[in-house]
C-alpha cells in the first residue's frame, strides 16, 4: 500500500497517545492502590464493591451499637449489683432483728441502720443516666421507678437495640417490685424506731419482711443474670460481625486492590512500547530521498 509521508507522524502521534493513556492509567492505579478507578473500569467489580461497602457500613454501625449497648448494660449491672449488696446487708440486719433477745434500745438502734439502707436502695432504684432518664422504669424512662408514695410508675417493656439485621437485644431491665418492697421496709423501720418497741411485738413483721426481701433479692439476682446473658449474646454477635467484616474486607481487597507485580509488568511493557516506537520513528524519519540528491 502507498503510504503518505505524514502518515508516519500520525502513527507516531496515535502510538504516543495510546501509550501515554495506558501509562497514566497504570500510574493512577499504582498511586491509589485501586484497580477499579471508576465504575466503567470494571462495572461488575464496582457494583460488588459498592455492595460490600454498604454491608460494611451497616456492620460498623451494629458494632458501634453493641459497644454502646454493652456499656449501658454494664451500668445497669453495676447498679443492680449495689442493690444486691444493700439487700444482703438489709437481710443480715433483719435476721438480727428477728432475734428474740433484742431489747427495745437494740431495735431502735437497728432502725437507724435500716433507714440508711432504705435510703440507699431508694436512691439506687431511681438511678438515672447522664440525660436524666430512669434506668429501671422500662420504656417509661421519664417516670421514676419508685415515687414518693412507693408506687412503680414505669412499665416492664424493653427498649430494643438493633445489633444485626432483624436482630435486637433489650437495653434495659425494670424493677417493678422495688416500690412495694421499700414501702414495707419503710413501715418496718418506722415500727423499729418507735420507743418501747419489743422484739416479740415486731417478730411477725420482721419474718414477713425477710420473706419479701428474699423474693426481691431473687428477682434482682435474676435481672443481673439476664443482663449477663445479654452481654454474652452481644459478645458473640460482635465476634460474628467482626468475622463477616474481615471476610468483606478481604473480598474488597481481592476485587478492588491492585496487584503491584502485575501493574509493574504493565508499566514496563507500556514504557518499552513507547521507547520502541520512538526509536522506530527516529530511524524512519531520517530516511528521505531528498538527502541523497
Amino acid at each position: 500500500m502507498r503510504i503518505a509521508s505524514n502518515q508516519y507522524h500520525t502513527t507516531m502521534n496515535s502510538a504516543l497517545q495510546a501509550a501515554n493513556e495506558g501509562l497514566t492509567h497504570v500510574m493512577q492505579q499504582m498511586a491509589s492502590g485501586q484497580r477499579v478507578l471508576k465504575p466503567s473500569d470494571d462495572s461488575i467489580a464496582a457494583l460488588r464493591l459498592a455492595r460490600l461497602s454498604r454491608e460494611e457500613a451497616a456492620l460498623g454501625q451494629y458494632r458501634d451499637n453493641i459497644g454502646a449497648l454493652q456499656s449501658r448494660l454494664k451500668t445497669s449491672e453495676v447498679t443492680l449489683d449495689s442493690i444486691r449488696e444493700d439487700l444482703q446487708a438489709t437481710r443480715d440486719l433483719l435476721v438480727w432483728a428477728a432475734d428474740a433477745g433484742n431489747t427495745g434500745d437494740d431495735l431502735n438502734a437497728m432502725s437507724g441502720s435500716m433507714k440508711t439502707l432504705h435510703d440507699s436502695l431508694l436512691f439506687l432504684a431511681n438511678s438515672k443516666n447522664a440525660e436524666g432518664r430512669y434506668l429501671f422504669s422500662g420504656t417509661a424512662s421519664d417516670q421514676p421507678t419508685v415515687d414518693a408514695g412507693y408506687n412503680f410508675l414505669g412499665n416492664s417493656q424493653t427498649q430494643d437495640v438493633a445489633v444485626g439485621d432483624n436482630l435486637s437485644v433489650g437495653g434495659n431491665v425494670s424493677l417493678e417490685g422495688m416500690g412495694a418492697f421499700l414501702r414495707q421496709l419503710n413501715a418496718l423501720q418506722g415500727q423499729l424506731a418507735t420507743p418501747g418497741v419489743t422484739a416479740e411485738g415486731v417478730h411477725a413483721d420482721v419474718t414477713a419482711m425477710i420473706d419479701a426481701l428474699d423474693l426481691t433479692l431473687g428477682d434482682v439476682a435474676g435481672k443481673i443474670g439476664q443482663l449477663g446473658g445479654r452481654q454474652n449474646i452481644l459478645s458473640t454477635m460482635d465476634t460474628n460481625h467482626a468475622s463477616v467484616s474481615l471476610a468483606n474486607q478481604q473480598s474488597a481487597i481481592d476485587l478492588g486492590q491492585i496487584d503491584y507485580g502485575e501493574a509493574a509488568t504493565r508499566l514496563n511493557s507500556y514504557a518499552l512500547a513507547l521507547q520502541a516506537t520512538q526509536k522506530a520513528y527516529a530511524k524512519v524519519s531520517q530516511l528521505s530521498l531528498f538527502d541523497a540528491i
Binding site: 500500500m1 502507498r2 503510504i3 503518505a4 509521508s5 505524514n6 502518515q7 500520525t10 496515535s14 471508576k38 465504575p39 466503567s40 473500569d41 462495572s43 461488575i44 464496582a46 457494583l47 459498592a50 455492595r51 461497602s53 454498604r54 457500613a57 451497616a58 460498623g60 454501625q61 451494629y62 458501634d64 451499637n65 454502646a68 449497648l69 449501658r72 443516666n129 440525660e131 432518664r133 422504669s137 422500662g138 420504656t139 417509661a140 424512662s141 421519664d142 412499665n155 417493656q157 427498649q159 430494643d160 437495640v161 438493633a162 439485621d165 432483624n166 435486637s168 437495653g171 530516511l287 528521505s288 530521498l289 531528498f290 540528491i293
Partner: protein
Amino acid sequence: MSILLNGLTGAQAAQAALGATSQNVANAMTPGFTRTGVLLGSMQTPQGGAGVQVSKLLRFADSFKNVQLWQATSQLGQYSAGQSYLTQLEQVMSDDTANINNGIDQFFAALNAASVQPESGPLREAVLTAADGLVKRFDSLQQLFTNQQTAISTQRDGVVNQINALTQDIALLNKQIAAGRATGMNDAGLQDARDEKIKALSSLASLQVVDTPDGAKSVSLKGGQPLVVGADAATLSTAGPGVLNLKFANTTFTITDIGQGGQLGGLADLQKQVLGPMRTTISELALGIGNAFNAQLALGFAPPAGTPGAPLFDTSGGTLKMTGITASQLAFSSSPTVSGDSGNLTALIALKNRPMTITTFDSAGNAAGSTQIITGDVFTQLVGKLGVASSLNQASQKTATTVRDQSEEDWKSSAGVNTDEEAINLMQYQQMYQANMKVVAVANQLFDSTLQMLG
C-alpha cells in the same frame, strides 16, 4: 522544424509536471491537501508526432474513501461528545465519601445509633443532622445534573451554529467551483477546502453527500433533510429539547436530533438514554425515601405530644427538603404516652430493606414499566448501570477512533503526499526537461548546419 517544436512541448510538459511536484512537496504537511499530478499524452498529426501535451491536471481524490472518512468521523463525533459527561458523572457518583449511598448509610446509621437510647437528645439530633446531610447530597447531585444539562444545551447550540457556518461555506464553495468549471479554472484548492468543510461537518452530524454534474456537492442529513443543495444552504435552529427546526428555501422542517449521529446525535443520545433516566431514578429515590419515612413517622408518636408524628422531609416540590422539625418531634415511639418506646424507630430502621418502586427504561431511554428495588440498593444499581453505559461508550469510541484512523490512512494512501515519490518525480521531470532542452539544442545545431551549407 518538428524536432524543435517537439522539444519545446516536452520542456513545457516537464515544467508543468515540476510545478505539480513542487506544489505537492510544499503541501506535504497541509491537512486535507490532495496531491496533484499531470497526465501526459502524445500529440499526433497525420504528418507524424507533434510532441507531448498535458492532457489533464490530475487530483488524486478517491470519492469512496472520502465518504468512508466522513462516516468514520461522524461515528467518532457521536461517541466522543458524551464521554466527558459520562466520566464526570462516574467520578462524582462513585466517590465513596460524597455519594448518595454514603448519605443513606449515615442516615440509617444515625437511626440505628438512636435505638441504643431512643429518648436521648444528642442521638436524635444526630438523626436530624444525618437527614440534612442526605438531603444535601441529593441536592448537590441534582445540581450536577442541572449543570450538565446546561452544558449540554450550550454545546448543542454551539454545534448547531457550527453546522450553519459550515453549510454556508460549503454552499459558497459549490458556487465558486461551478463558476470555475465554466471558465476552465483549476479548482483543486477549492475542492480540498470543501472536502475539509464536509469532514468538519460530518463530525457534527451524519451526512449523505451526493456529487452533481456541475461539480457541486449536495449534503443532507442521514434522514435526507437537505443541508446544502448547490449554492443554497439550510439554516438549523434549536426549538426546545430534542427538537430542531431546519429552514430551507422558505420551507421549515421540524426534526429531532436523536439519531442524527455526530456530536449532535451523541449529545441527544446521552441526554435521552443516560441523563434522563438517571435523573428520574434519583428523583424517585429521593422522594421514595422521603415519603416512606414520613408515612412511617405518621404512624408513631413523640411523647409527650399525643398527636401522630410530624413529617421529617418535605417532598411537596418534587425535591427532597427538610421540614425543620426538632429532634424531640421525631416520632420514634409507637405509644402516645411512653417516651422511651422504640417500636416506631425499629420500623423506621426496617425501611432500609423495604423495596421501592423504580421506573425502568429501555435502551432507547423510554420508560418501560417499573420494578421493585430495596432502598439501600437503588443507587448502587444506578452507578452500576452508569458504569456499563460508560464502558460501552468508551469501547465504541475506541472502535470509532480505530476506524477513523484507518479511514484517514486509507484516504492519505491515495491523496497524501509521499516525499520520496516526489523526489523521484523531481529527478525524472528534471531529466525530461534537460533531455528536451538538449533536443532543442540539437535542432538548433541542425538548423545552423543547414544555414552554413547554404551560406
